[in-house]
Every structure is written in structure tokens, then in C-alpha cells.
């Protein structure tokens, strides 16, 4: 498991290098004082130094992190990835299908497939969470949720 920590350390080193590189393209100093690149450049440098120090620390460590089981079981990984994929799909589809349909599908997936709830419970909660929330937020809280961009769905009131 030491490799997991080392990989994470290298990711942070990579992030720091990217920040330093990007900051380099910004103005470091102006006639009036520090420019937009000043603060991020130094942050990138310090982050890089700390990441390297941590990388060396975890590389030289005996026991400790090696003994910790970090990765969950296969079923757990699947549930986590499914949840993330469902949320990403929701983000991608909510403007196209409209909030109501996208949220209905998201809730059905989360409750029925991942949460293993009864079908009637799933449908009731999904309807309330999609159609109900859309109208509640739009009518009472003045928070407009997106309507469908697809004409056919928009004509159906979604």
C-alpha cells in the first residue's frame, strides 16, 4: 500500500509543477507591486517542497501506511463509481432533458439500483424529488431549475 501514498505524493508534486508553470505565464511583479502571478507562484513552490518532503517521508516509512487497507472491496468501488457517474450524468443531462426528468432518473437509479428500495417507495420519492422539487423551488423559493432543451420534452412540460 506504500505505492498508493507515493502515487498521491507524486500527484501533488505534479500539481505544484503545473501551478508554478501556469504562474510563470502571469505577471510576477508590476510597477505598483506584486502581480497576479506572485502569490500562486510561491504557493506552488511551497506546495512542491511539502509534497516532496511527504513523498520522502512515506517512501522511507516502515509499517504504518503499508498496514492500512485503503482500497474498498470490488462491490464498494462499483457503488462509489456508480454514484459518481450518476451525478456526472445528471450534470450533463439536466439542461438537455430538464431537471424533472434527469432528477427522476437519478433518484430511480440511486434508490432502486444502489439503495435497493421497494419500487413504490422509489417511484413516490423520485416523483416528489423531481416534479415536486421543481415546482416548489420555482414557485416558492424563486430558484429556477432548468427546463428541457429538447423541444419534445419541453412540450410535455418537462
Amino acid at each position: 500500500m506504500k505505492r498508493v501514498y507515493q502515487t498521491a505524493g507524486l500527484c501533488f508534486v505534479g500539481l505544484s509543477a503545473f501551478v508554478v508553470w501556469e504562474s510563470w505565464t502571469l505577471e510576477y511583479y508590476t510597477n505598483l507591486g506584486p502581480g497576479p502571478g506572485f502569490f500562486p507562484l510561491w504557493l506552488g513552490v511551497v506546495m512542491g517542497a511539502l509534497s516532496l518532503a511527504w513523498f520522502v517521508q512515506v517512501s522511507g516509512r516502515k509499517g504504518g501506511p503499508d498496514d492500512v487497507a485503503i482500497l474498498p472491496e470490488r462491490a464498494g468501488i462499483l457503488r462509489i463509481l456508480s454514484t459518481l457517474a450518476a451525478l456526472a450524468a445528471m450534470a450533463g443531462l439536466m439542461n438537455l432533458f430538464g431537471f424533472q426528468l434527469a432528477m427522476f432518473l437519478l433518484l430511480v437509479f440511486l434508490l432502486k439500483v444502489l439503495g435497493r428500495q421497494a419500487l413504490w417507495v422509489t417511484l413516490v420519492v423520485a416523483l416528489l424529488g423531481s416534479v415536486g422539487v421543481y415546482h416548489l423551488f420555482g414557485a416558492y423559493l424563486d430558484v429556477p431549475l432548468p427546463a428541457a432543451a429538447v423541444k419534445l420534452l419541453a412540450n410535455l412540460g418537462l
Binding site: 498508493v4 501514498y5 502571469l26 507591486g33 502569490f39 500562486p40 511551497v46 462509489i80 459518481l84 439503495g115
Partner: protein, 501 residues
């Protein structure tokens, strides 16, 4: 006397029917969030911020602060009845509280905890009333140099106490600052790290980031295991015996003092206060060997301390404009989203908001006492909702919350990405509290640093010309270096921890 007059003016604001309703809603939601395992106060407050956009600023802040200290009340219920802390600050309560519940005295433990929380919250609010005048007068003397030094001190205290590794805490602090760099440069107004995307011009929204790091990451952590746990708790009579009340008076007073004082210190968490209170009770007890067998002192002290801490932690925010904990940082973000800057100028420019909110703390604590004593059975019933159902509902709320910050599906993606990042960082044992504080304080920190350097034409010596800044920076250096010495490290493990509040 000014303070009393101002407080009375605050009550006139807090006691309007509309603001009473907001305090009530915040208290109810806070209790629910405190009861539910898997969603903490940081994500809870962040999630509700978008719903307050249409509200007036006073009502919005009253609701969000009530939610914050309401979680401390709610967290107790699961600690006592189920041995599962709803909030990290209530974890120590499990030791005595659950033992009491097993002996059929859970109701008395909850009653004493609610009364202690009320007393602790009220005393800490009174401390805020007293401190507001002198501290704001002092803060008004601060220029950008002193303000920068103050932020550095606050962050160094937080990083010195967060987690077990100083390197990791510093890395997370800088990670938050780097996230704060995205968007328009606060001094020149030039875009940075936006990669040409319009959505990033205003920076990465702190609401989706925090919901991801704290809320979604927690849900993903729970998703590792099969869902389906349903808790069943048994309640007993809520009326404590006269002996319970006698034994609780001392712990409640000591817990109030510990929580209020530690709440002032950035980086000190609610669980540090409750832990120290528990230790203090064992030390002063005539029968320390009986701790662990269900002593009311071990519930009264810590539960008072964590609520006093929650209210005490608002003192630096209101007087100096510096948040002392992640949830308070989120509340600071809510202030800013409503066009208000917490700190000394708030009392000058918006006394109705400042004093109205402070007065609402008293009101909120009374509401919470009522909600938590006779209605405790209702909160216990919430625990019977299967997690497989609950997690879907929470995720749906998160999507709506993230979207409605700026009506953008991009923010839902940001939340999803930071959920994954938060999950991985938790797995690697990185503390997340520094990310929140630096994310919110980053722009203020950069602005004060750059304004200071513009004043001195780039000469760093300006930070050594102000005696206040010298003292603050010296203290910051001390708190960063101190953990390197074994002496200071001893016992730190107990005080630290990356918990919320």
C-alpha cells in the same frame, strides 16, 4: 451599557415573526443534520446557502447560524441512544451517555445534555456580547499588514492542530489557497487558472467544493459498505433525578468556560472542547474510577462544552472577521454572498444584522431546548429511515444546492469532482478543515498581502514595522514550529482530528 442597548435592539430584530421562523427552521434542520449520520454541519450549512439567496441577509444568517449550533444538540441524541456520534464533537458523550442509556437512563442523559447545551450556548453568547465592543475597537486599528498577520496566525493555529501530520495539514492549507486563486485576480482583475472557461471567471464556487469535500465524500465513504442499516433506539423518561441535577451543575459551569475559551482559538475543534471537559471532570471528580460506567458528569460537561464552543467560535468571526472553524468559515462565505463582510465594520455598517444575529443565538438556544426535550422521540424516529433511501434524498438535495448557487450544471460537476477528491484525501488521512478555511480566506489573505507590499513598494520589512504584526507573526511561527518538539506533541493526538464544526 452600550452592549446591553445594542443587544436589546438585536432582540427587536430577532423577535420579528419572520426571523423567529428562520431561527426555528435553522434549529429544526440543524437538529436533523446532527441526528443523521453521514452529513455534518459543514456540508449542511453549505447545502442550505443557495436557499437563502431570496431571503434578507439577517434572516439568512440567523437561519444558518441556528443550523450550526443546532447540529451540536442533534449530535447528542445518537451518541447517547445508539453509541453512534451524529457529530464528532459528541463522540466523547458516547462513553457515559450510552452506558446511561443501557441502564435505562438515556432520557435523563439527553435532558441534562440539552439543558447543559442551552446554558453553555447562552454563556458563550453573553461572552460575545461583552467581547464585541473591545475586540471590534481593536480590529478597527488593523490595516492590511496587521490583517495579513492575523490571518496567518489563524491559519497556523488551525494547521498546528489539524490532524496528526503538520506536513499534510500545510499541504491541505495550500491546496485551499490554490483553489482560491482560480478566477479573477482580486487586485488587478485579470483571469488566472481559468483555462478560458467562463464558468471559472468568478472562481470555483465554495459551496459545491465544500459540499463535495465534506458531504459527498462522506456518502462515498459510506457507499463502501452495503446500505441498509436501520437504527432502533429505546427511549426512557426524560426527567432527571435531583441527584443528576446536583451532579451536573459543576460540569455545566466548567464546560461553559472550557467551550467558550477554546471556541475563540482557531483550529480548536468542538471535539477538543468536549474531550478537555471530560478530562477535567475526571480530574476534579471524587470517584474518577467510576467514569465509564454511566456518570452524568461525563455527559453534562462535554455536551455543554461543545455547544459553548459552537457559539464561542462565532466571536472571532463577528469581531475580527476571522473564522475559527470550517463551519464558521462556511457561514463567513454566506455573509459574503449576501454582500456583508463579517468583522468590526459589520457592527458599524449593519448593526441590525450583527446584533440581530447575536440576539437570535439566545432565541435559537431556547427553541432548541424545547425541540430537544419534549420532541426527542421525533428525532429518534428519523433514524429509522433506511440509509439506502436517505442517501438518495441527500444526494438529490446536494445536486439542487450545488446547481442553484449560480444556476449552473457545471457546479454539479465541480461538486462531483471534489467529492471524489475528498474521498481520496480522507482515505489518505489528509485533514480537510484547512482546505475550507484557506479557500474562503485565500482572496482576503492575498489582497492584504499585496496591498501591504504595494504600500512598501515590495519591501517585506513592512511586516516588521508594526508591533501588532510582529507579535501575531511570532505567535504564528511558534504554533507552526512547536509541534516539531516532542514536548508539545504529547497529548496532541487527543485534541486534534479532522472533524467538522
Amino acid at each position: 451599557m452600550d452592549a446591553i442597548q445594542n443587544l436589546l435592539m438585536g432582540f427587536a430584530v430577532a423577535l420579528t415573526p419572520q426571523n423567529l421562523l428562520f431561527a426555528f427552521l435553522g434549529s429544526v434542520l440543524g437538529t436533523v443534520i446532527g441526528v443523521l449520520p453521514g452529513i455534518g454541519p459543514v456540508a449542511g450549512v453549505a447545502m442550505l446557502i443557495p436557499l437563502t439567496f431570496q431571503m434578507n441577509p439577517t434572516g439568512a444568517i440567523i437561519m444558518l447560524t441556528a443550523l450550526f449550533y443546532g447540529t451540536q444538540y442533534g449530535g447528542t441524541i445518537t451518541s447517547v441512544l445508539l453509541n453512534v456520534p451524529g457529530e464528532a464533537a459528541s463522540a466523547i458523550t458516547c462513553i457515559e451517555g450510552y452506558e446511561m442509556a443501557k441502564q435505562g437512563r438515556g432520557g435523563a442523559a439527553l435532558a441534562i445534555a440539552a439543558i447543559g447545551s442551552f446554558v453553555g450556548g447562552t454563556i458563550a453568547t453573553f461572552a460575545l456580547v461583552l467581547a464585541a465592543g473591545p475586540l471590534t475597537r481593536m480590529a478597527l486599528e488593523f490595516g492590511p499588514v496587521e490583517f495579513f498577520a492575523l490571518i496567518v496566525l489563524g491559519l497556523s493555529l488551525l494547521m498546528g492542530l489539524a490532524g496528526k501530520s503538520m506536513i499534510k495539514a500545510l499541504m491541505m492549507g495550500i491546496f485551499g489557497l490554490l483553489l482560491a486563486m482560480v478566477g479573477m485576480d482580486p487586485v488587478r482583475g485579470l483571469p488566472r487558472f481559468t483555462f478560458g472557461r467562463m464558468e471559472l471567471m468568478d472562481g470555483i464556487g465554495f459551496v459545491p467544493v465544500i459540499m463535495g469535500l465534506f458531504g459527498l465524500a462522506e456518502i462515498l465513504g459510506n457507499a463502501e459498505k452495503q446500505f441498509g442499516q436501520v437504527f432502533a433506539a429505546k427511549m426512557s423518561s426524560l426527567i432527571p433525578t435531583p441527584k443528576d441535577i446536583r451532579d451536573s451543575i459543576g460540569p455545566i459551569l466548567r464546560g461553559s468556560a472550557i467551550g467558550t475559551l477554546l471556541g475563540l482559538v482557531p483550529g480548536m475543534t468542538g471535539s477538543a472542547s468536549s474531550f478537555l471537559s471530560y478530562i477535567a471532570e475526571r480530574k476534579v471528580s471524587n470517584h474518577p474510577e467510576r467514569f465509564g460506567t454511566g456518570l452524568i458528569e461525563g455527559v453534562a460537561g462535554p455536551e455543554t462544552a461543545n455547544n459553548a464552543h459552537a457559539n464561542g467560535a462565532l466571536i472571532p468571526l463577528f469581531t475580527l472577521g476571522i473564522p475559527a472553524s470550517p463551519t464558521v468559515a462556511v457561514i463567513m462565505g454566506a455573509f459574503m454572498m449576501h454582500g456583508l463582510i463579517p468583522g468590526p465594520f459589520l457592527f458599524k455598517e449593519h448593526p441590525d444584522v450583527a446584533w440581530g444575529t447575536i440576539a437570535s443565538f439566545y432565541v435559537g438556544n431556547v427553541i432548541l431546548l424545547i425541540l430537544n426535550l419534549p420532541l426527542v422521540g421525533i428525532w429518534v424516529k428519523i433514524l429509522k429511515i433506511p440509509y439506502g433511501l436517505l442517501f438518495g434524498i441527500i444526494l438529490a438535495f446536494m445536486v439542487v444546492g450545488a446547481y442553484s448557487v449560480s444556476n449552473s450544471a457545471f457546479d454539479v460537476l465541480v461538486m462531483t469532482l471534489f467529492g471524489l477528491i475528498g474521498y481520496l484525501l480522507r482515505k489518505l488521512d489528509f485533514p480537510l478543515a484547512p482546505v475550507v478555511l484557506t479557500l474562503i480566506l485565500g482572496p482576503l489573505m492575498e489582497r492584504s498581502l499585496r496591498t501591504s507590499l504595494e504600500m512598501s513598494q515590495g519591501d517585506m520589512g513592512i511586516f516588521l514595522e508594526s508591533p501588532i504584526a510582529i507579535v501575531l507573526l511570532a505567535l504564528a511561527a511558534f504554533f507552526l514550529i512547536a509541534p516539531a518538539f516532542r514536548f508539545f506533541r504529547r497529548g496532541k493526538g487527543a485534541l486534534s482530528g479532522d472533524e467538522e464544526a
